[in-house]
């Protein structure tokens, strides 16, 4: 499957990332949508019908917000590569960057979540039972960035290249290892970092209301058939008991009611 993360392997790592960032906007839009879904369940076929029809006639809506608030260029390159691996362009959605996933994470980290709002931050910071939750003197933004730097150094150590210069297959294998706790960080537990911070942000980016910059065009809601707002279903709950709900193909978000 074509992959917009691909960067020329001959170019030096830093240069390729700069080139990549510039190419981003241009690369977006030429995406293989409308392919038949691989799954064979009745559910998948029923769900697919309206979407597939729409996909052949209309170009998908993609992210049009550019410029990061919290990522530096290296961080942006890491995050974009990661998101395009975790969310490749396919029959379901455009690639992760085009779905707005990078913008979502960037804005979350720049905002109150990233600054540690409503999180207990007093010391001392001792290590103990994992069930007490992370004990780090870092805000989520600092934690995220520290993890990226460590993961990039691990990629350099293991593959001789920064993460964003890995092929999609190599990059995917690297992320799998990260998630399985198989890549040692220098100071951080990178498995914990990925599973408790990065992965939840990825899921939120896909499935939160588009208000926050991800899930552009409600593409993930359409994919699963979540109808969004206004969700006043007192009659629907009777009329669609055990039946497909028509609104699943045309979800509405907060913006549609604002």
């Amino acid at each position: 499957m074509p992959h917009s993360v691909d960067s020329p392997s001959s170019a030096p790592a830093t240069a390729s990332r700069r080139v990549f960032l510039k190419q981003l906007a241009a690369a977006s839009g030429s995406l293989p949508l409308g392919q038949a879904l691989a799954g064979g369940t009745a559910a998948a076929l029923l769900l697919q019908a309206p979407d597939a029809a729409a996909a052949t006639t209309k170009a998908p809506v993609i992210n049009t917000v550019y410029g990061y608030e919290s990522f530096g260029p290296d961080e942006a390159a890491f995050v974009e590569s990661m998101l395009n691996i975790m969310c490749p362009a396919d029959a379901h959605t455009p690639n992760g960057v085009d779905c707005g996933l990078a913008i979502y994470i960037d804005r979350q980290l720049a905002g109150s979540f990233g600054q540690g709002a409503r999180r207990y931050a007093a010391g001392p910071f001792l290590q103990g039972a994992v069930q007490c939750g992370p004990q780090l003197p870092l805000t989520p933004q600092q934690y995220f960035k520290t993890g990226i730097a460590e993961a990039d150094r691990a990629a350099q150590r293991l593959h001789g290249q920064l993460f964003d210069a890995l092929s999609p297959e190599q990059g995917n294998a690297f992320l799998q290892q990260l998630a399985a706790g198989q890549i040692q960080g220098e100071q951080l537990d990178l498995g914990e970092w990925f599973n408790s911070l990065v992965y939840p942000l990825f899921c939120e980016a896909c499935y939160a209301d588009p208000l926050y910059g991800g899930n552009v065009g409600m593409v993930f809601w359409k994919m699963i058939g979540y109808p969004g707002l206004p969700a006043t279903h007192a009659l629907d709950v009777v009329n669609y008991l055990g039946k497909p709900y028509p609104g699943r193909a045309t979800p509405k978000s907060i913006a549609d009611f604002s």
Partner: protein, 585 residues
Amino acid sequence: MKQRASKTVVIVGGGLTAGLIARQLTAKGCEVLVLERGGDHSKGPESSLPNQRDELRWAVRQGLIQDWSRETYTLRHQHNQTALPVRWMESFLPGQGLGGAGNHWNGHLWRWAEYDPQLRSHYERRYGKQAIPADMPLQDWGVTYAEMEPYHDLFEKLFGVSGQAGNIDGKKLPGGNPFEAPRSGPYPQAPLHVLESGLVFKQACDKLGYHAFPQAAANSSGAYTNPDGQKLGQCQYCGHCERFICEANAKGSPQVLLYPMLRQRKSFEVRLNTQVLGLRYDAQGKRATAVHCLDLLTGEEYEQPAEVIVLAAFTMSNAQLLLHSKIGTPYDPVSNTGVVGKNFCYQVNTGVDLFFKDKWFNPFLASGSTQILIDDFNNDNFDHTGLGFLGGGTIQAYQFSGRPIKGRRVPDGTPRWGTAWKQANADWYAHSMSLGVEGSCYPHRGNYLSLDPTYRDVYGRPLVRMTFDFRANEQKMAQFVSGKMMEIARHCGADKVGSLQGLVVPFDSRIYQTTHIVGGTIMGETPHDSVVSPHLQHWDAHNLFVVGASVYPHNSGYNPTGPLAALALRLGDDLLRYLQAPGRL
């Protein structure tokens, strides 16, 4: 410190129980002041469309929940460990703001088993004295279900509860819970609609000879006017209930049914943004004299004297205020002495996901309490002889929301990202359902609350320290009842049955379980084994009362709000008596 003019009754915390007590008192013109640390949610985005339907803001980022940067809890599993602060709590979610957690609750409403208030006597009678392990300090509450029944009835009418009675005056009714404690009348409203997941579950239970019935719910099945003339709208099955405020005013909540009415009453006053830091205690006179307040808007600290003080600040704050103010003897698990902090209990939860290619469950068409369940394996509704544990749980097919960030199910073995992950989400989102166990948690000698020696809240007070784990009794019980759940799961006709999501041991603060934390300021018949009397009166301060789940000596396999609401209404009436002749009730 500056003192304000004394009040008749001061209630600490402005949640569900405070509203109920204030209703009883102000109806008779008694002066009541409620002190609440949070603000008023009723006009904000949390209570209005479209922003009410924002999963990220309210459910994931906990927009209505206690601010952990100000007050959190430390955790250890055994008393010889060093506790660490939970810096971001997921496992339980205390509320903040007028109405408390009673605004963002799910609305399942239970009366507990008729024998729950006499649980120790009940087990001893049925299985002999030796059946209760020495490290399980079960105890009778000193109040009976029959005494609470009229208050259950009143609460259900006030909150417009929708349900199917199973037992009216001892007569068993078809379609209801055959294990239900006898009721004096039916529920005020018809039950909520049954969803596809409930139909599937009921069929399986029928085959197996179990007794499935719809959850009684404070989610209003129709438009409703309560005995106070307060109104509920009809539930819209919007799937944004637990962790959310109902913008349709269709969930029985203090913000809808109590506080707007109370604020019209002359003898009622509420001070919002008022953090209570502690109590002033006259140990000689055995009286609590005043409440130490911090105005969070101005920074002003003052003392608020009162004739009667009621702690209605939810489990953790209730225990903290007593420990911090040095009222009553703190519990010590080693010497097994003292009472404050004792019998801290939580709740057992397990689950399993089911996948059906050709069934449409439409998970987003749901209310906070749309579930069908059985009570057959709860508490002592089945014979425990030879089982090696006490207690049990309900087993339910629950469908409360299809919120997409947290509410998706995929079969075991699904990759966590990539095209195959998306495919599985697309395939199964509308075609899956879950079963769950919500089980009892009995007290253990080693599970308790105390003050942490190291960590402090933003006001400089020691944090409450939880010493808690699910012990052998709960682990065995979870295994047994989960086995029954898996049996039902296999009879549902699913194409795929997920693996059992068992009880998570050790207790893990990073996973939401329930907000049903109980105990710490327990009720009982003597000062040796309890903090408050059967009338919720503090044994060491006769003008101090404590209300809420913190007075339960054990947790049953039910949600907590029914009995604590009944006890709160009863306390309101008791306080009217007390004020006429202050002394021991």
